[in-house]
Symmetry: C2
Amino acid sequence: MAMKALTKATIYEVAQLAGVSIATVSRALRDSDLVTAQTRERVRAAARQLHFTPSRPARSLAEGRHAANGIVFPDLVGPYYAEVVLGYEAAAAGFGSSVLILATRGRGDAEAAVRELAGRVDGLTVMGQTVGDDVIRSLAATGLPIVLLARDPVPGVDTVRARNARTAEALAAHLLDHGHRRITFLGDPAGSPDVAGRYAGLKARIPGLHAVPLTDFDLPAGERAAHAILRGDPPDAVVCANDEVALGVLLAAGQAGLRVPEDLAVTGWDDLLAARFAGLTTVRQPMRELGATAARWLNRRITADHQPTAARRRILPTQLVVRRSCGLHPPEGHR
Amino acid sequence: MAMKALTKATIYEVAQLAGVSIATVSRALRDSDLVTAQTRERVRAAARQLHFTPSRPARSLAEGRHAANGIVFPDLVGPYYAEVVLGYEAAAAGFGSSVLILATRGRGDAEAAVRELAGRVDGLTVMGQTVGDDVIRSLAATGLPIVLLARDPVPGVDTVRARNARTAEALAAHLLDHGHRRITFLGDPAGSPDVAGRYAGLKARIPGLHAVPLTDFDLPAGERAAHAILRGDPPDAVVCANDEVALGVLLAAGQAGLRVPEDLAVTGWDDLLAARFAGLTTVRQPMRELGATAARWLNRRITADHQPTAARRRILPTQLVVRRSCGLHPPEGHR
DNA sequence: TTGAAAGCGCTACCAA
DNA sequence: TTGGTAGCGCTTTCAA
């Protein structure tokens, strides 16, 4: 078998081989009805023979669109973001849109990276703590369609979030029903809008709630924080900003010889797979649906011929999942 | 505050405002040393004032490169792929390369999607069961740099994988030490090279190994398969293709009133977070490192001025993690 | 050091 | 139905 060409074929070569103009090639390849079926076939054959694929940059430049959109998130660590991104990609694929991802993971140059990304897409979904409102506003001012995900709203920009405060209240009520009174919150409300919402909901029911800020939100961070909290005068219950932190607390409690939930109640947030096996009481978020909704909304904005519709906001429901880590003999039955 | 322009500024506007030619703008903005510091500043100021960002398609078209690369994977379900992709993105970001993702999730049009993606990037990483060797070969023939990840090699193409067979042998030996003899493998060796490798390793030590094929590799699939296996004459041990399946088996065993590991030993593969909390014996894969290595190798190929170096292959080590699900009183101590 | 102009590969408008 | 051609916005010679 002969070596395939190492140089990509262009529309000119196809035109020449098919014996037509480049305009006709362009039409034939994009199913325009301004070409004879016969011509179309001839062009197709030539294209196939040359392994022709249109240059995406050239196309984008001529069309003035990218046929791609992007999603910016803080990190991909832990199952939460992965699930959201997956839901996003699946929905976007349905629209024939490619997806560019960008994890800012606390980089200082997040803004530059986001702006670079913005130049490659027709629209952008921005999650959580990645870039500030000023960046969002200036991007939106460009006319770039934007959807905010799990993030505080910015005037004029669509926002999709999960319910935090209200479900946190339900969680608080449940904990109080168990008789827990000395409750500590593990997480930094200032660090993310989601956490802020959860904290606010808890605080509404537990006035004396004590918050211990956390810089990271992974298992080791939870473990470390727990070690500090548990020495001395441990609380009745530790409510964690997410499951990973809670799992860390579970581990630390075990190491400290504390039984859960007899000596210490622990709760998380997200309902990761691990939560189920750890018997962790938590709150389930519709992660895939969050991503998919953002993708759909963004697509609508991108394809909306004009009509600057008012910014929309949606809060997707979340669900308290009671397992054993919050206390024995749950007041409302157990699982 | 005045409304920002809704039309993106071009290099022409910047040139006009700065009172120079577009060539000079281009140079000034890209730190060419063919411009006076003074001119550079003037251009910069003009660009800033107009919120100018160069058009990425125009740039790509002129430069003949995308400054982006892509990764194709079967799905993002489960922590495994997410971790790999994260490692990949992190490494790619280090090279200043944007990342496009594509999840084929068994779509029939995977090939078309991959080809579309190929047109947007300077190089491609292809994972597992996404597209066939023919597609890989034809893409590679284009001159597009490609790295294969967790996938059978294709002549002339770089491949990065995790060790499967050898660690599977170690796992088999461990199981035999526990006295297990009637062992069932849950997974389809024909479905993925990784699984095939694991099965081969087990089979080398357990000649009579019985394999039960599985179409999906998630928790419900494991649960369903286990229900079928456990009714009637259950084996001593079930070795699963991955942790999610194993966790499903754990659940099913519980429902069937079987104790693990007393009545049934169970093992997984991947060492997900949940495995730790489920006490699941498994094998740890360096997922981040797999992704990062692929990204690095791809970058090398992309930036390699020429020199068609020979295809490289690397197998990253994996590690047996013994917990309690494989049997009591582990022969070599326990954790 | 700067400018003019020729592409880069395509789409889409205007004529034919 | 087809062809000619003017852009799309940038990079990069080649001259000045």
